[in-house]
């Protein structure tokens, strides 16, 4: 992605909030659905909000509620939900070259979701070192609070909301693929990266359509990485 250092008007955290606004289109409808499903599964409004506040990981929250409601053994619930989040392992290391030694980064890692990682991976290299903590705080806090607020809304009035405004569930979530697209397309600046990214995206679509949404991201990413190495080796051997 573009590594040119960018300056901006206003404070870094305000810029972070501004950059994270497109995330709301994806976060709020999903959070409303989670709130609604959690309450329907027997959790109280307060419990539902606490789940979103402290776990803060979409897919594993849905799984937690569904498995707990079906009476699955709790040790299995814990293992399965953590397995779904295992893909987050590569996020922190990828961002670490852009983060300084400030201790405030430690609690902020709670906010390192898929979307915040994608956003930070594209934006942090463009920001001056002293602006990164503020930028990340603004972006991550907006995402976290919108997730909690959406959950509360869903738990309290989710049924009525989705009935009255079906467009919330239908159209706003498109903000997420559009955001990921805008974040990844600048990487397609040569044949090697274009093919790598295209294969990762296409594999992810196929895996999800085939009914493997939880392994789609890590598996598709590995497919893309394998192609990258294969093409690079071929090119290096051809150059000898």
């Amino acid at each position: 992605m573009n590594t040119t250092t960018q300056t901006f008007a206003g404070t870094p955290w305000k810029q972070g909030i501004k950059d994270a606004i497109p995330l709301l289109g994806g976060y709020i409808p999903v959070a409303i659905s989670f709130g609604l499903i959690s309450v329907q599964s027997g959790f109280s409004v307060l419990e539902t909000i606490l789940i979103s506040t402290f776990i803060y990981a979409g897919a594993s929250q849905f799984l937690f509620v569904a498995m707990a409601a079906s009476g699955a053994p709790l040790w299995l619930v814990v293992i399965m939900t953590l397995l779904i989040n295992a893909r987050h392992i590569v996020y922190g290391p990828n961002l670490s070259p852009y983060l300084n030694h400030d201790k405030k980064w430690l609690p902020l890692m709670h906010g390192l979701t898929d979307q915040i990682f994608a956003l930070a991976h594209a934006r942090l290299p463009q920001l001056p070192d002293q602006a990164r903590l503020g930028w990340y705080t603004g972006a991550a806090m907006l995402a976290w609070l919108s997730w909690i607020a959406g959950t509360a809304l869903g738990a309290i009035a989710g049924g009525e909301l989705t009935q009255r405004w079906p467009l919330i569930n239908d159209i706003l979530p498109f903000a997420l693929p559009a955001l990921f697209f805008v974040l990844i397309v600048p990487r397609c600046n040569n044949r090697l990266w274009t093919l790598t990214i295209a294969l990762s995206a296409v594999s992810a679509v196929i895996l999800k359509v085939l009914g493997y949404p939880n392994v789609a991201i890590p598996l598709a990413a590995l497919c893309g990485a394998a192609l990258f190495y294969a093409l690079k080796n071929q090119r290096d051997m051809g150059g000898r």
Binding site: K18, P22, S44, E47, L50, I51, I55, F64, A68, L74, V78, L82, N85, H88, I89, V90, Y91, G92, P93, N94, S96, H101, L106, M109, H110, L112, Q115, F117, A118, H121, A122, N169, I171, F174, A175, P177, A178, L179, F180, F181, V182, L183, I184, T196, I197, A198, S200, A201, S203, A204, V205, K208, V209, I217, A220, A221, L222, G224, A225, F228
Partner: protein, 113 residues
């Protein structure tokens, strides 16, 4: 929720946080160590490749519409084309996303509602 459910909730919350925190700390230490040894701290190549491919994979999974019918796929295709077109012109983030969502919504609205 009974006590065991709370315990499960806390375990998942702490586990998820550690999954996000510990690899970051490990890489931070590893980079600092390499910097003292070689004078340069660089990330392993596989990690720099896995970052963008993970984002591309997230893009792929988010592309699949909730209702897997022709109209939804058509709206998704047009939405992405519009997002790309506006991005090519502006090279910004907000406007392409907004236009993409509006295009997606218009196709859905006119063909479904």
């Amino acid at each position: 929720m009974d006590m065991s459910m709370w315990l499960a909730l806390v375990s998942i919350a702490v586990g998820t946080y550690l999954i996000r925190l510990l690899p970051y700390l490990w890489m931070k230490r590893s980079l600092a160590k390499r910097q003292t040894e070689d004078g340069v701290g660089s990330m392993p190549t596989w990690l720099t490749i896995l970052g963008p491919t993970m984002i591309a994979a997230m893009f792929g999974t988010s592309l699949v519409p909730t209702h897997s019918d022709i109209v939804s796929w058509l709206a998704t295709g047009i939405g992405i084309l519009v997002t790309f077109g506006v991005w090519k012109r502006t090279r910004s983030m907000g406007m392409p996303i907004l236009c993409g969502v509006v295009a997606f919504g218009l196709v859905r609205f006119f063909l479904v509602f």
